[in-house]
Symmetry: C2
DNA sequence: GCAATTTTGTTGTATATACACTTATTTTAT
DNA sequence: ATAAAATAAGTGTATATACAACAAAATTGC
């Protein structure tokens, strides 16, 4: 005889990787969103700022690749950041391409927000333990 | 003297928990979305179906709590699932509340999609190793 | 050298999500 | 018993995200 739907669903819900990962993602993202909110900055924007900062200069497609984002997502998020004048657009020889770099304002914003980021990091590790080990397989740049 | 922005950003990008977690979340979610797409089912919908199934019957606010979702998010996602007739709405004595249960169609859908889910689980573990340990702290129900 | 393919970025559209606010109902305190 | 507080669900609005389709430019193969 088949197991009952309820038992089966319970088993699935306990072992489902994507369900747990997404829940963890929502909870952890909320911690960082709260810390960044006073700066008018979102987590997605922070991640892009840092990635651009780490590259010095990077094209949207490069950012999409290293962050596993759709190019259209990068496009639209950068749009807002450009409107805030946090990033500069640098034309290239290849006329399809342009690169992005932090503006002075963008660099200042990063410096300003880093203490809040450190608090979020601490809060997260305190709540969830060392996620870092698990996440070490997720590389950037 | 201050470290250069580039070095600092690189350091942050390497140690930032939320950045890595979100990237992992996007990548893993994409695996499951691909597996569920042939069934016209999204990951968010699958997670709700399974959670409802595991509860037998659950209110939106209960689902929001156990999945760490905003009630408004649950509301809107359930709306579509109800339109598909995957879930039934069960009125309660407390007139503010209602509960949700899987319909026959919903149960059939879960049964149908489980093989695809197992493939996604395997694919994910093969690519990322045993995330399960890390995610064991993320509990449901 | 040029047609076919690939690459880059953008736009249209849809889902997932959160926050602030609203409405209806229930519970609580006095 | 009733006014005040709390709870449940839904709406308005905004961001994050993906996929499909597009246009422009570059690369490739012959």
């Amino acid at each position: 005889m088949a197991i009952s739907m309820e038992m089966q669903a319970l088993e699935v819900s306990k072992s489902c990787i994507v369900a747990r990962l997404r829940k963890l993602n929502r909870e952890v993202s909320a911690i960082y969103e709260d810390c960044f909110r006073p700066f008018g900055l979102t987590v997605a924007q922070f991640n892009l700022l840092i990635s651009i900062g780490a590259h010095g200069e990077a094209s949207p497609s490069r950012l999409a690749k290293v962050l596993s984002l759709e190019k259209s997502t990068v496009s639209r998020n950068i749009e807002k950041m450009h409107a805030h004048k946090w990033v500069e657009v640098i034309p290239q020889g290849d006329k399809r391409v342009h690169t992005l770099a932090l503006s002075d304002i963008g660099e200042k914003l990063v410096e300003e927000v880093l203490p809040a980021w450190r608090i979020a990091q601490q809060k997260t590790e305190k709540t969830y333990g060392p996620l870092t080990d698990l996440l070490n397989k997720v590389t950037f740049v």
